[in-house]
C-alpha cells in the first residue's frame, strides 16, 4: 500500500482500515525460533563438471573457525508473474529459514517487466540467491557452521526441471545470465533446488492475497 502514498485514493484508505481490522483479529502472532532440524530430503550433487568445471563455493579466507551447533538453510521462493495489472510487473517472494526459524524475507515488486513466468521465476531465483549468499557470508563471519547447501524450494516446475539440463536454450540475455548465475551456484553446491507445491510453498504468502483458510494454514507454520 505504501506504493500509493504519494497520491492515495479513498479505496486505498479503506484497504488500510482492512489491514488494521485484520491485525485486530490477529494481534497475538509471534515468530518462534525453532532450533530443530527441518526434514529436508538429501539430494545428490548434480554433475555439471562439463559445463561449470569444478566450481566451488568461496569460503571467506578471514572467517573465524566455525564453532557450536550447525544450521541448515532452507529458502522458499515464489513469484507472481505479471501480478501488477497496470505495469504488468511481477512480484518476488523469498523466505529464508535457518533450521526451522524464519530469519530473512522479502516481498517486493520486480524492477523490470518479464514476458514469461519462467523469466519472473528466474528473477526471483537470482534475488533469492543474493540473499542466500549474503546470509551465508554473514553466518560464516560469525563463526556459525553451515550444513550442506541451502535447500531452495521453488514452485515453478520448468525452473526446477531445467536443473537437469544446463545446456537448455534460452533466448533472452537477461534470463540467460540469471539462469547461469543460479545454476553455477547449484553446481557449486551452494543451493539444492527442489519443487514445492504451491499449497505448501510458504513464499506464496509474500506474493499473493489468499483466502482465509489457506492463509491460516500457511501462516500457521511460521506464526504462533
Amino acid at each position: 500500500m505504501a506504493a500509493f502514498a504519494a497520491s492515495p485514493r479513498k479505496g486505498h484508505l479503506e484497504a488500510v482500515y482492512h489491514i488494521f481490522a485484520y491485525l485486530k483479529r490477529h494481534d497475538r502472532s509471534r515468530l518462534v525460533f525453532d532450533a530443530s532440524r527441518p526434514n529436508n530430503v538429501e539430494q545428490s550433487l548434480p554433475d555439471w563438471t562439463d559445463f561449470y568445471k569444478d566450481v566451488k563455493e568461496q569460503i571467506p579466507k578471514d572467517s573465524p573457525e566455525p564453532l557450536g551447533k550447525s544450521v541448515e538453510m532452507t529458502a522458499y521462493i515464489d513469484s507472481n508473474h505479471a501480478g501488477d495489472k497496470v505495469t504488468w510487473r511481477s512480484h518476488t517472494g523469498v523466505l529464508i529459514f535457518l533450521n526451522r526459524s524464519p530469519i530473512l524475507w522479502q516481498s517486493k515488486k520486480q524492477s523490470s517487466i518479464k514476458t514469461s513466468s519462467f523469466g519472473s521465476e528466474f528473477s526471483v531465483m537470482k534475488t533469492g540467491m543474493e540473499l542466500i549468499e549474503g546470509l551465508r557470508y554473514k553466518l560464516r563471519m560469525m563463526g556459525v557452521p553451515i550444513d550442506g547447501p541451502c535447500h531452495v524450494k521453488a514452485y515453478d516446475l520448468s525452473v526446477v526441471r531445467n536443473s537437469s539440463q544446463p545446456q537448455s536454450t534460452l533466448k533472452k540475455k537477461s534470463n540467460l545470465i540469471a539462469f547461469h548465475y543460479v545454476w553455477e551456484r547449484a553446481a557449486a553446491w551452494i543451493i539444492s533446488v527442489q519443487c514445492e507445491p504451491t499449497d505448501t510453498n510458504l513464499a506464496d504468502m509474500l506474493t499473493n492475497i489468499q483466502l482465509g483458510c489457506k492463509r491460516l494454514q500457511l501462516a500457521g507454520r511460521i506464526l504462533f
Binding site: 500509493f4 485514493r9 482500515y17 488494521f20 481490522a21 509471534r30 563463526g143 504462533f224
Partner: protein, 151 residues
C-alpha cells in the same frame, strides 16, 4: 556523541572483554568460549546503540563486566523481555512438551496502533470490520483502484 559512544563501547568490548567485531556486521561481537560440558562455542554480544543483547551460557558474567563500565538498569539485566521494541518470550510446542524455544512478537505495538486507528475511526462514527481473515480483501488490486483521490 554517537560516534564517541560507539568507539567507547567498542574499546570496552575489544580490550577489556576480548571480543572480536564481526566483519560482516559491525554490531555483532563474539569470542570463543567453552561450555560447562566442554564443547567450544561462541559467545555473542549484539549491540544496537544502547540496546545490548548477550547470547551465552552464562550471560550474567558478561553483563557484570559491562556493568563495571556502564550503568545498566538492574531490571534490564535478566532474561530479555524486550529487544528493539519487540517482545521476547518462550514458546512450547504442543508436540514437544518440556522443550521451550525463544519467540518474538510485537503485540504491544500492534495493540497500540490498532487502538489509534480505532480512535481515529470513532471520530467519523465508524469502526473496524470484524471477521477479517486476510490483510487485503480477496481479489483487491490496489493499482486498479479508481475511487476518488483522498483530500
Amino acid at each position: 556523541m554517537a560516534s564517541s559512544w560507539r568507539s567507547f563501547l567498542a574499546q570496552v568490548l575489544a580490550e577489556d572483554l576480548n571480543f572480536t567485531m564481526c566483519r560482516a556486521d559491525n554490531d555483532i561481537w563474539f569470542k570463543p568460549a567453552k561450555k560447562a560440558n566442554g564443547t567450544s562455542y561462541y559467545i555473542y554480544v549484539l549491540v544496537c546503540t544502547d540496546d545490548i543483547l548477550c547470547v551465552a551460557e552464562n550471560p550474567k558474567a558478561i553483563l557484570d563486566k559491562l556493568d563495571q563500565h556502564f550503568l545498566l538498569k538492574p531490571e534490564s539485566r535478566g532474561k530479555p523481555k524486550v529487544y528493539l521494541g519487540a517482545e521476547i518470550g518462550t514458546y512450547v510446542f504442543e508436540k514437544q512438551p518440556g522443550k521451550s524455544y525463544w519467540c518474538m512478537g510485537s503485540q504491544a505495538y500492534i495493540k497500540e496502533s490498532v487502538k489509534n486507528d480505532e480512535t481515529h475511526l470513532q471520530k467519523q462514527h465508524r469502526e473496524l470490520k470484524s471477521k477479517v481473515s486476510s490483510p487485503l480483501p480477496i481479489n483487491y488490486s490496489p493499482e486498479l483502484d479508481a475511487t476518488p483521490l483522498c483530500d
